[in-house]
């Protein structure tokens, strides 16, 4: 297990640094209270609000590991949320609503995967199609309105609590664990990494690259469906225009902050969801720190830039060398870490 810890260490340290930074501006950031059977506090809020991006990041990690990308996840969220809201408001009940939403997500993934694996369209272009068309599909389902509903069972996925923890948080943590087990306890992880590094050689070694590629896009669609369910349950309504808007970019960012290469290959789901939490901690932290809201995006961009520059493989050794020259210490990593704080 030390290997697994070492892999996510940079992300853990970054998350810690962000939390410390926010705490400096907003001292109550880490305070957690127990009220009416549930935990409340800013940090709990981060874990809950970050659920959609964390879920998307789980699927996105697998897609990126195959050297692909899935731009359609935000739109898929909208479609799945619209499907669920439609099913609930038409009176089909909870289980059918979930089934319809998840089926829609898998179908979206099948569409993307087929374009990429069978027709050989570049992933960025293939998923761009659904990214643009998806919101239109969602609008057709909601008939152009915000489709609201009252259904406590379904709303539970957005605002309920399990053992005191927000339901969305439990869902993303479960998804991350289950997907990690799925790829690491079977050979899927190895095969996915293999086709991401060298698809041609992998195919010649007998790996069914086509089916595997379709499967990862379907996994991404499945995760997007859960994200859509959470977003819809949270506001008790499906907003085809805004549900999941631009979240595909946050998900990609989370995967990148998680140290996964956009060129495919080795991947870590744990590092990606930590990346999602880093992004959400920044988002929530900026709001809590009380900056005027017009600063939010700029501050977020600046922080993300700092994180990525610190992670950059060409910069880290150089900074370590510079630090050594300056202070005569052989330890590069502390220097890099201090520079981040």
């Amino acid at each position: 297990m030390p290997q697994a810890i070492r892999r996510v260490l940079p992300q853990l340290l970054t998350l810690l640094a962000v939390i410390l930074l926010v705490s400096a501006f907003f001292p109550g950031f880490l305070q957690v209270d127990y009220e009416r059977g549930r935990l409340v506090g800013p940090i709990i809020d981060v874990i809950k609000r970050g659920a959609p991006v964390a879920l998307l990041a789980v699927g996105m990690t697998l897609v990126i590991a195959t050297r692909g990308i899935d731009l359609s996840v935000g739109a898929t969220m909208a479609i799945c949320g619209a499907c669920a809201a439609w099913a609930i408001s038409s009176g089909y009940g909870l289980i059918p609503a979930l089934a319809v939403a998840l089926a829609a997500g898998l179908l979206a993934g099948l569409w993307n995967g087929t374009l990429v694996a069978v027709f050989g369209i570049q992933p960025i272009v293939a998923t761009l199609i659904l990214m643009t068309a998806g919101r239109g599909v969602a609008q057709l389902i909601t008939e152009g309105r915000i489709l609201t509903f009252t259904h406590d069972g379904f709303a539970f996925f957005g605002s309920g609590a399990i053992l005191g923890l927000p339901a969305p948080a439990v869902i993303w943590v479960l998804a991350a664990i289950l997907f990690t087990l799925l790829v690491r306890r079977t050979a899927l992880g190895l095969l996915i990494e293999s086709i991401g590094i060298n698809r041609r050689a992998s195919t010649l070694a007998g790996i069914n690259s086509r089916v595997l590629l379709i499967a990862v896009y379907m996994a991404s669609g499945f995760c997007a469906a859960w994200a859509g369910i959470i977003a819809t349950a949270d506001i008790r309504g499906a907003d085809a225009n805004n549900s999941g808007l631009w979240l595909e970019l946050d998900a990609i960012l989370a995967v990148v902050i998680g140290g996964n290469s956009l060129l495919g290959g080795r991947f870590s789901i744990a590092a990606s969801v930590l990346g999602a939490m880093i992004i959400q901690a920044i988002d929530t932290g900026i709001l809590l720190a009380g900056f005027p809201s017009e600063f939010n995006l700029v501050i977020k961009a600046a922080l993300v830039l700092v994180i990525l520059v610190l992670q950059s493989p060409s910069l880290a050794p150089r900074m370590a060398r510079a630090a050594r020259r300056r202070r005569g210490t052989p330890v590069g990593r502390t220097a890099a870490r201090e520079a981040g704080e």
Binding site: S194, I197, S202, L204, A205, I207, N208
Partner: protein
Amino acid sequence: MLLTIRSLTKTFPGTRALDAVDFDLRAGEVHALLGENGAGKSTLIKCLTGAYQRDEGELHLDGAPISPASTQEAQALGIGTVYQEVNLLPNLSVAENLTFGRQPTRFGMIDQRAMRHQAEELLSGYGLGVDVRRDLGSYSVAVQQLVAIARAVALSGKVLILDEPTASLDARETAMLFDVMRGLRDRGLGIVFISHFLDQVYEVADRATVLRNGQRIVTEETARLDRLRLIEHMLGHELEEQTTEGARHAAQPAAPDERALHFDGFGRRGKIEPFDLSIGRGEVVGLAGLLGAGRTETAEVLFGVHPAQSGTARAPEGPLDLGNPRAAIAAGFGFAPEDRKTDGIVADLSVRENIALALQARRGWARPLPRAEQNRLAEHYIQRLDIRTSDAEKAVGDLSGGNQQKVVLARWLAMNPRFFILDEPTRGIDVGAHAEILRLIEEVTEDGMSILVISSELEELVAVADRVIVVRDRRHVAELTGTEIATDRIVRAIAAPDAKAGEAA
């Protein structure tokens, strides 16, 4: 002399790509430049066109020393090049392509009529019935090639370099191209013609220069250059130095038993003409021929990379489906490809994972190979094949070429295939590893594995093969058995269209 090159030398880290090469091009001749892969043809061309800077040597064009620093400069000096893939813009019209960069203008605007007129004039000598207003992309590759030539001639007009221009043309289009080449030659251009097709060289070239390992071997008029000698020059085998020692074939004639694999009329259009092949248990069949003659194509059709369009494959238990690599693997086939970097290894994965990959793919994703089993496999093959790596967890991309090749071999040996195709198993690896791989081939055939080995090194084939099949122009043309397996016989079979190469052909 139009163009003279004297002792041109170009070195890259680790290799001397060109070693004091001399080359002369007369005005009004077609001069073929020949050689196998890595002989130095493209380096020579790139030094001429300014893509590379030479280390030593002199270039003279029309008696004046030149040293082009860029393709543009070479063009301005009079050296134009047309590559196999046409470097024009298919979405522009023929006229725009021909006048690109120097369009006639009127009041600062492009003068469409003058441009069309110029383009038609440029093409007038080529006998092409094309509408210069149409998009270039709407014409065939051959026409595009001729337009590229017309453009190069118009821009440069002294030396024209054609790098494998006929690779994607059919016979009629090739004839059309040759007519144009002869026309340009008669107008006084010097043409350098690079091709793998020897028939074409004899058809159109006045002289030929052969390069091998960065050195000029010979320059001769094609009319006086015997086809056999030419191939000997290219492959580097003199007829005198026969190699038969160490050969394993002397005793056993190839008698495919009932456990053999049979391929009848196997072929694919554009890759390899239908061929018959049967391989006995424990037999090593060698495949010889020049580059592009159909060696790798044969392997790829057998392994389902490009599935056969005709013919059947049969094993003792019944007909085989070889529609894709997975099917071929299920049928008990293995394939170590020629280009191990792009087709063989998965660079970022560890030695252990690379070795276990094919086995894991066959087991399916749901049944992972236990880690202990993977470690055992890795240790076993690291030892057996003497793979030089610090440990099994090292990324394969960090190993040397020979060790990468051994990892690919280990991946397939772990599968214990009944039929193993090795495409250039010893290319680019050091002598020690070379010998080990040949020894390994001997070893596994004793256990009954059948092997098809493709190699440019004829001694290698002579040493390991029970039978040698010769391919030429994408066809299996000869089969050598027993004592016929000797480098000179193979060379002769590669060379002579009708020479008696072997009874079993």
